[in-house]
Amino acid sequence: MRIPCPYCGERDAHEFAILGDATLTRPDPAAPDAETRFHDYVYLRDNPAGAHEEWWYHANGCRQWLRVKRDTRTHAISGAVAARADATSPRDAA
């Protein structure tokens, strides 16, 4: 599996570490139901069979966190963007 890193170009996935679902947002700790929200954020997953947006970290490369779009049925990767929007480059495949 090869990931199109916006900084480094296409690299084999073994250079990266994956964290999982990138569509989740860290809840507001001040919310009245913060504990429930944090539970959902930390533990619950849609876990789709199909399109999945996920965090990959280019540990053995540029050390940037990327949002990668990948199909969990086929492993086909349709794009990757840097976590920091302002850090995207023209090589961004997404």
């Binding site: 959902d40 997953r45 849609d46």
Partner: protein, 416 residues
């Protein structure tokens, strides 16, 4: 037909003409007391114990393909009860006890073979962790022995003791651990359940649930709607998808775990060995193939296949552990979809949806749990209360913080 020397003899003499189907290929009835979704080992064991222990025989097992074609037929066949946490160890030890009587109970030789499982350690800290584990096992009534380097060498002289990057210091041995023939476990439970009246319905995929108010009262399938008093789901690998149809999000991700088998060889590895300085475990099947595996690939996947980095990683560990296997060959590798839960431990529980019972989250450890999982899930379904050895496997433990995290890696499923 009961299997015996006599039945083999009679069939041998009659040109193998008298065998009958091991189980009926049933067509679904309109309604059952209990529907078990998932014709893997866990689902079939659940149905078997519902009928056998609880007398609930109006049961159907619905399988989307053929029975045993998911993880029950894709694992590395290891059985063991060498866990450390109080939420886990009594359950797995109960499973081990059920394994020990399984074949006589089912009249089916599942080749349950207690040739021992040895977890190697390579550092003082690992030794201490295994001592902690071995002591926990003893507290739960399981067997365990802490071996030193010399004792390990006596068991497996061909391991790399002398040139190793991470020298072997010793190992934790569970002599009662070992392997079982995975397919035969499926077939044995299927045959046993069938004989007690359970309908095993293959090629019947659940596509939705019948609802009455909040409650689930049956399933929609590719073979029509079927009503049920209770619907019990044991579909590891697809748990999120099936639970999703009932409106539930689960603390589970699906990951690929690869498994490997070599060409057939004369006896080489007697028991099960796990490497402590890398992700690698190995045993040898009765047919002679080395059966081995390692870590999950790490990414979410429903593809039942993995990639080269893990294949290489596993073989590197294999060669580091046993450098005599270099000229042996990998015959096949494949992948299974693991129900990786957020603390690495399973769920056997009721759910917020009335009528919907869940058995999920087995990570890469479901096979060894098959008998106890079926036993405890049947108990839960029949009595609406958890079995005492499975009381920690609650769905709400993530909310309450009563986690069962053997590895201590937290809510990152690919690290469990």
């Amino acid at each position: 037909m009961r299997y015996s020397f006599l039945s083999l003899l009679a069939n041998g003499l009659s040109g193998q003409s008298r065998w009958t189907p091991a189980w009926r290929d049933a067509a679904p009835k309109p309604a059952y007391d209990v529907i078990v979704v998932g014709g893997g080992g866990h689902g079939l064991a659940t149905a078997y114990y519902l009928a056998k222990v609880h007398g609930i025989r109006n049961v159907a097992v619905l399988e989307k393909g053929v029975i045993g074609s998911g993880n029950a037929g894709r694992n590395t066949t290891i059985i063991r009860s060498n866990y450390v946490l109080p939420g886990n160890e009594p359950f797995y030890e109960w499973s081990m006890k059920l394994w020990e009587g399984l074949e006589q109970e089912l009249n089916y030789n599942a080749m349950v073979s207690q040739r021992g499982i040895l977890n190697l350690f390579h550092s003082d800290a690992q030794r201490d962790a295994y001592a902690r584990r071995g002591n926990a096992m003893r507290l739960a009534g399981a067997d365990s022995q802490l071996l030193d380097r010399k004792q390990v060498r006596a068991m497996y002289p061909f391991l790399d003791f002398d040139n190793a990057r991470f020298p072997i210091q010793g190992g934790l041995l569970q002599a009662r651990g070992g392997t079982a023939r995975h397919d035969a476990v499926v077939w044995g439970y299927a045959r046993g359940a069938d004989r007690l009246g359970v309908d095993i319905v293959q090629n019947c995929e659940v596509t939705g649930f019948l609802r009455e108010g909040d409650a689930i009262v049956g399933v929609e399938t590719t073979r029509g709607a079927i009503r049920a008093g209770k619907v019990a789901v044991a579909v590891a690998g697809s748990s999120s998808r099936v639970a999703g149809m009932a409106g539930l999000r689960l603390p589970i991700e699906s990951h690929v775990l690869q498994a490997f088998v070599s060409e057939g060889l004369k006896p080489l590895v007697d028991g099960v060995i796990t490497f402590g300085a890398g992700h690698f475990y190995i045993s040898q099947s009765d047919k002679g193939g080395l059966v081995f595996g390692g870590d999950v690939d790490g990414y979410n996947s429903y593809a039942q296949r993995g990639n080269l980095p893990i294949i290489e990683d596993v073989c590197e560990s294999g060669m580091a552990l046993m450098p005599r296997i270099g000229r042996l060959r990998l015959l096949r590798h494949w992948g299974g979809i693991m129900d990786m839960s957020m603390d690495g431990s399973p769920i056997i529980d009721r759910t917020p949806v009335p009528g919907f019972y869940l058995n999920a989250g087995w990570c890469y450890g479901g096979f060894k749990a098959t008998p106890a999982s079926g036993w405890c899930f049947a108990h839960l379904i029949a009595r609406d209360a958890p079995h005492e050895v499975a009381g920690a496997f609650r769905l709400d433990r993530f909310r309450t913080g009563h986690l069962i995290d053997e590895k201590g890696v937290g809510a990152q499923p690919n690290l469990h």
